[in-house]
């Protein structure tokens, strides 16, 4: 495997007696698009928060681009771009003010990203009128598109995108997928994608990690999962569902202290 952007070793997280993440060994190659999959409550968001240094692991080690996040979470601050699961922006500010604040927070000058921004606005049909509206007045899809732009425009080498196309119309979802592809292929960024939308995963995921009840039950290239779990249909969605179902009963949820 090529050089790794993320490497976790026996990473675990307990919330009181509930084991949310159970000794996982993630390996995300640099410059790749890695899809972190799993049913609801599988531990995806907890894992993402640990990678960001927002949650302290109970056990194990996390290395992000060589930085040991588990023992020194301060070091990782400002080095990972983030699109949270739900649209996160200031509802009283306009979309443009939100974008500007995001750039200032990341010490990026507007002039340097203006061409890229214009390109995003064009592709995602974000008009000047929308940009001048308070964020609260935008539709759910428009809000999502603005939040995506805010995370994609940063100069981070590693982006975590949680449900990037959720709530978007077909056209905008398609453009976002093409932008994500460009970010990885053209700009060489590493992308950790968490999504339930099969078209996202089919089009984008080079690598997959499947979490079931906090346990990493599969990790590898996208073709490998198809080969292993759906050789007859060659269908990616089929393969994922089969992994979910086959591992659902295998994985027990241990309780702390028991």
């Amino acid at each position: 495997m090529s050089e790794l952007m993320v490497q976790t070793t026996q990473l675990s997280k307990y919330f009181k007696t509930v084991l949310a993440v159970n000794k996982i060994d993630l390996e995300i190659p640099k410059g790749s698009i890695y899809a972190l999959l799993g049913p609801n409550g599988a531990g995806k968001t907890t894992t993402i928060r640990m990678l960001l240094g927002l949650l302290k692991p109970t056990e194990g080690q996390i290395l992000v681009n060589g930085i040991d996040v588990s023992s020194n979470p301060k070091e990782i601050r400002g080095k990972i771009g983030l699109l949270p699961q739900f649209s996160a922006a200031y509802y009283d500010l306009t979309s443009m003010q939100n974008i500007k604040f995001n750039l200032e927070l990341n010490d990026i000058k507007m002039e340097t990203v203006q061409p890229a921004l214009s390109d995003f606005f064009n592709r995602l049909e974000i008009t000047q009128e929308l940009l001048n509206k308070p964020f609260s007045k935008l539709s759910g899809g428009e809000q999502r598109a603005i939040c995506f732009i805010m995370s994609a425009i940063t100069d981070k080498d590693f982006l975590i995108l949680d449900e990037p196309t959720s709530g978007l119309d077909i056209a905008r979802a398609k453009y976002i997928r093409s932008i994500i592809k460009d970010l990885s292929e053209v700009q060489g960024k590493t992308i950790l994608l968490s999504s339930h939308i099969v078209s996202d995963l089919e089009e984008l995921a080079e690598y997959c990690g499947i979490l079931v009840k906090g346990k990493l039950v599969f990790q590898g290239k996208r073709d490998e999962i198809i080969e292993k779990y759906a050789p007859e249909t060659k269908d990616f969605e089929d393969a994922i569902v089969r992994v979910f179902n086959s591992k659902k009963n295998d994985v027990k949820t241990p309780l702390g202290g028991i």
Binding site: F15, R49, L52, G53, L54, L55, K56, K74, R77, G78, I80, L82, P84, F86, S87, A88, A89, Y90, Y91, D92, L93, Q97, F101, N102, E104, L105, N106, D107
Partner: protein, 400 residues
């Protein structure tokens, strides 16, 4: 070097955003406009209907009573001394209580001669008409002070002193002599300002607090991108102070406009808080305001430290109460003895600000000054640390 540079830039961006949010939020209209409207309604509006009515004080002046001292005449002398240029006050004399009852509609009744005690069986009865404004209320307080002094002397010594010898404000205590008259004059206004401003601004925290960031889900982004999390706290505190000072300014303007409508305006901004610029001088007044702002800063930090270390819903309700509780605890104990060191208040940070200010106004640069200074600086540092840890705590961030 590079890290501190990015931190400065991030701080500028966060502060700009926080201030911008403060002025956009609809609630801010209430923070900045609310106190003005409240004071205007309380002081100005009634005066449109009542303030121009003359106030008549009715005083007994013919009866020498038990002691042979004509207190009625002495009180009339005092009133004309203090309020000689006030056209709205008329002093009338009455010879007996029946006359008072007949002229009841005139205004305020002062039983200045104690041979009339038998009217009600109680030594001091004051009847105040609804026409009273803030100004007459202060007049009433002074008359009350005179009368109560006379009465206490009468009860204790069975003698009534010459009313001209009674001092306003009361005679100096031992502690006042140590701290000096300037500190004594600053004491009550300062404690009142600290209490009033903290009470007035306790509600504004909900506008600047982290609960909103959590609701908008921007907290995660801020924590992930900001290098020094303490900057998030400091930015919120500065925004809180701006909100508080704006709200106070609105309150003061409300009083000025309200009293000018009622014709009671003193024309002196500092008089609103009981500070007399001519007697105290600029230095003491500036010091007082600095320490009021310091108390507000501590109040905001206490609110923030409680808020960030608790779950979202409870925090918004409980955190202002903690701050207000401490302010009440401070003010009502200070009221009883403004200049003596209170042991029970030594644990109250607002008292540290108050006491340090008094010592500085008095020019007493003692070890006590250093101790209070260290206590305040240490507390501010600890509260910033607590709040910073609070915003990072997974319990307050995710598990609600």
């Amino acid at each position: 070097m590079a890290k501190s540079n990015i931190s400065t830039k991030q701080f500028r961006a966060i502060l700009k955003k926080d201030l911008s949010m403060l002025f956009r939020k609809r609630v801010a209209i209430f923070v900045f406009g609310g106190p003005f409207i409240m004071m205007f309604i309380l002081l100005g509006l009634p005066s449109l209907f009542t303030s121009q009515q003359a106030i008549t004080l009715l005083v007994f002046s013919d009866d020498l009573g038990y002691t042979g001292v004509n207190i009625g005449d002495a009180i009339i002398g005092n009133i004309s001394l203090y309020y000689e240029n006030d056209d709205t006050i008329t002093v009338e004399e009455a010879d007996n209580f029946t006359e008072v009852q007949q002229t009841r509609a005139l205004g305020t009744y002062i039983p200045s001669n104690f041979s009339e005690l038998s009217f009600t069986g109680s030594p001091s009865i004051y009847t105040i008409d609804a026409t009273q404004s803030l100004f007459t209320s202060s007049l009433f307080t002074e008359i009350y002070t005179i009368a109560s002094k006379v009465m206490s002397n009468f009860v204790a010594n069975r003698s009534i002193p010459n009313i001209q010898s009674i001092q306003l404000p009361p005679t100096a205590l031992a502690e006042e002599e140590i701290l000096g008259p300037k500190a004594a004059a600053v004491a009550m206004p300062l404690s009142y300002m600290i209490f009033l401003l903290i009470a007035l601004n306790s509600g504004s925290y909900s506008i600047i607090g982290f609960a909103r960031e959590k609701r908008m889900r921007t907290m995660e982004i801020l924590l992930a991108y900001t290098h020094k999390h303490s900057l998030l706290v400091i930015s919120k505190v500065i925004t809180g102070l701006v909100a508080s000072l704006g709200s106070t300014l609105s309150y003061v303007l409300g009083i000025l406009v309200g009293t000018s409508l009622s014709g009671d305006a003193t024309g002196d901004l500092f008089d609103i808080f009981g500070l007399n610029f001519k007697t105290l001088g600029g230095g003491a007044i500036v010091l007082s305001f600095i320490f009021v702002v310091l108390a507000l800063l501590i109040s905001t930090l206490i609110t923030m430290a409680v808020d960030t270390n608790m779950a979202r819903e409870a925090a918004e309700r409980i955190s202002p109460l903690v701050s207000i509780g401490l302010a009440m605890f401070f003010y009502f104990i200070v009221l009883t003895s403004p200049l003596t060191v209170s042991t029970i208040l030594l644990i109250n940070p607002f008292y540290w600000c108050y006491r340090l200010c008094l010592l500085l106004v008095a020019g007493k640069f003692t070890t006590e000054v250093l101790i209070y200074f260290l206590l305040i600086a240490g507390l501010i540092f600890i509260l910033i640390q607590l709040a910073t840890r609070g915003i990072q705590k997974e319990k307050s961030l995710y598990l609600e």
